[in-house]
C-alpha cells in the first residue's frame, strides 16, 4: 500500500475541512476503503478518520422520524429493537450485509457511500474503465453477470448496498454535511446514475460526508421487508434484491418497491407500485406485480437471469408480506 497520512477528525466540521485536501477520503469502519486502497483503485493520500467524532452512532426516534447516525454500526442496526419494530426492511437488510465481522466494523454511512463491486472496476491491472478515469466499459460486450439490467449508460456497474435498497423503499432521506453547511437529500436523489456522472455513485463531493439517515413517519410501523439473492448464504453482494413497503392492509393504499443490485442506483419499480395501489395481495396480483417490476429491463449478454430473478424476488417479497 502506498504511503498516506491518517488524521483523526474531532467533529463533522473538522472532517469536512480535512477532506478538502488532494485525494483525501473519509474512513469509518474502513471495510470498503481499505480494499479500494490496497487494490489501488483510487489514489488516496490522506485518510480522515470519522470514528473519533463523538455522538454520530445513535439510533433514535425524533420528531416522529427514526433517525440513525451515519456512524451507527450495521451490527447495531441489525440488533436494534426499535428498527425491527418500526422499519423491518432495514433490519432485514442490515442482517444480510456481508458477514458478522464486517457488520461489526461497518457503518451505515459507509455502507451507503461504498464504491461499486464491478469486477472490471476492481481490476486495476487489466481493465481501464470509466470509473477509474478510463474510457471504456468492459461489461457492455463482456462478462456482465453482475451488471445492470436497468439504466446503464456508458457504465453498467450496479449499486451494491443492501441498506440503500431498504432505505429507498422506506422513503428515507440522507443528511449530508459539507463546506456550505448541511443539506437533506431523498435516498432516490442521493444516488446518481452514470448518465449524470459516472465517476461518482452518490451526490457526495470529496469534502462532504453523510451525518444522518432519516426514515419518515409515513413509513414507520408499516409492513416492510427486504430479501436478497446472492451466490452464497453470507458475505456476497446481492445479484438482485428487493425492498417493499406497503401502506394499507388488506387493501393496499400505496406501495414502494425498490430493487437492488440490478441498476446503478436503487431502482424503483414504479409500474408495479402503481399497479398495486387499490388492490389486495391475491396470487394473481402478486404474479402480475412481479412481471411489471421487470418491465423495461435491458439485459446484457450474461445477466439475462436477473430479469426472472427480479420477478421472483418481488413475488416472493409480496407473498411473505401477504401471509
Amino acid at each position: 500500500m502506498k504511503r498516506f497520512e491518517h488524521l483523526n477528525a474531532g467533529s463533522v466540521d473538522e472532517a469536512v475541512k480535512l477532506l478538502s485536501a488532494q485525494n483525501a477520503r473519509a474512513i469509518a469502519g474502513g471495510t470498503d476503503l481499505l480494499g479500494v486502497m490496497k487494490d489501488q483503485l483510487l489514489p488516496t493520500d490522506r485518510v480522515v478518520n470519522l470514528k473519533t467524532i463523538p455522538g454520530l452512532d445513535y439510533i433514535k426516534e425524533e420528531s416522529g422520524e427514526l433517525r440513525i447516525g451515519a456512524l451507527a454500526k450495521i451490527a447495531d442496526i441489525a440488533a436494534s429493537g426499535v428498527v425491527a419494530q418500526k422499519a423491518p426492511a432495514l433490519t432485514n437488510a442490515a442482517l444480510l450485509v456481508a458477514s458478522p465481522q464486517i457488520r461489526n466494523m461497518g457503518t451505515l454511512g459507509g455502507n451507503l457511500a461504498q464504491k461499486v463491486r464491478c469486477w472490471y472496476f476492481r481490476d486495476v491491472d487489466r481493465a481501464d474503465c470509466y470509473k477509474r478515469g478510463g474510457g471504456f466499459c468492459y461489461a457492455v460486450l463482456g462478462a456482465s453477470d453482475l451488471h445492470a439490467i436497468f439504466d446503464g449508460a456508458a457504465c453498467f456497474a450496479v449499486q451494491p448496498s443492501d441498506t440503500a435498497t431498504a432505505l429507498s423503499a422506506l422513503g428515507a432521506s440522507i443528511v449530508v454535511a459539507g463546506p456550505g453547511g448541511q443539506k437533506t437529500v431523498g435516498v432516490d436523489d442521493f444516488f446518481i446514475g452514470p448518465h449524470t456522472d459516472y465517476t461518482r455513485e452518490t451526490v457526495l463531493a470529496q469534502d462532504e460526508i453523510i451525518t444522518e439517515v432519516r426514515i419518515p413517519a409515513s413509513a414507520l410501523g408499516q409492513p416492510s421487508l427486504f430479501i436478497k439473492a446472492a451466490p452464497r448464504k453470507s458475505i456476497d453482494f446481492a445479484r438482485g434484491s428487493v425492498a417493499v413497503l406497503l401502506v394499507g392492509s388488506p387493501l393496499i393504499q400505496s406501495a414502494r418497491i425498490s430493487l437492488g443490485g440490478v441498476a446503478p442506483t436503487p431502482h424503483r419499480a414504479t409500474e408495479a407500485e402503481s399497479y398495486l395501489a387499490g388492490k389486495r395481495l391475491t396470487a394473481d396480483v402478486i404474479g402480475q406485480a412481479g412481471t411489471l417490476a421487470a418491465n423495461g429491463a435491458q439485459p446484457l449478454a450474461s445477466n439475462d437471469y436477473k430479469v426472472q430473478l427480479v420477478q421472483g424476488l418481488v413475488r416472493s417479497a409480496l407473498t411473505r408480506l401477504a401471509g
Binding site: G135, F136, C137, L141, D151, G152, A154, H195, Y198, P299
Partner: protein, 246 residues
Amino acid sequence: MADSENTPQDAPPGAPQGDEPLSRRRLVVGGIAAVGAAAVAATAFSRAANAVTAQEISDRVVSADPSLCVGCLACEVNCSTWHASVGRSAVARIRILTDNTVKLNTQLAASLPKRAGFTPQTCKQCYTPWCLPNCPTEGLQIDPQTGDRFIDETQCIACGKCEVDCPVEFKGTLAYKAQAISSKRVMYDSVKNVYAKCDLCIGREGGPICVERCPVNAAIKAGYIKSDHLALDLKPSTEAQWKQLA
C-alpha cells in the same frame, strides 16, 4: 424584409429547396454593401462569406448503423461529459432512441438476444445548413476547413431561430429511462442558456468522441465482431447521405 415567404421551415426534409434562402441572403448583403455602411458591410460580408461557402458539404457527419447499436449510451454520456469539460453545454447532442423495427446484427443478437433495437440520432450536418442563415450573431458557423456546422456557444444569445429552422427532429422514446422526446436536432440548454448541437467535437484532438468511445466500434476494430463497417462512423454529408441518416 420579405424573408418569410420561403423560409427553410417550409422545406420538407426530403425535398430541399436548393439554396434559395442563401441566394436571398446574398442579395440582402449586396444591398447593404451598396449603401456603403463599411463596418456593417464588413460584418455582413464575413457572414455572407460563410453563407457562400455553406455550399460546401460538411466532410463529416456522425452516421450510425442501428443494427450494430446495443444502446449502451456510451456515446450520449461521453458527448455530454466532454462538452461540459471544455466549458460547453452538457446537453447530449447524440441521442439513442429505442426502435423495435431494428434487427440487431446476427453476431450481436446471438449474445444480446433481449436487447431491443436502437437508432442513434444526431445533427445531420445538412448540406444546406437550414439553421445558419437566421442566426443573428456569430453563433452558428461553418468551419472553413471541414464544413462542420457548429455553434460557438460564447456567441449564442439563445434566440431559438436555429431551432425553428432546423428541419429534423429527435422523435420517439429515448433509450435512457424510456423518456419521450420531441425536439429538433439543435436543442436548448436551460442551464447554460444556449443552444447546442452536434459540433463533431470541434477542437477535440481525435475528433468526435462518440465514434472513438463506441464499444461496438472497439470490438469491430479488434476483430471480435465481424463487420466491414463501424457501428458509429463519420461520412461526408452529401445529399444522398443526408437522406439515409436517421
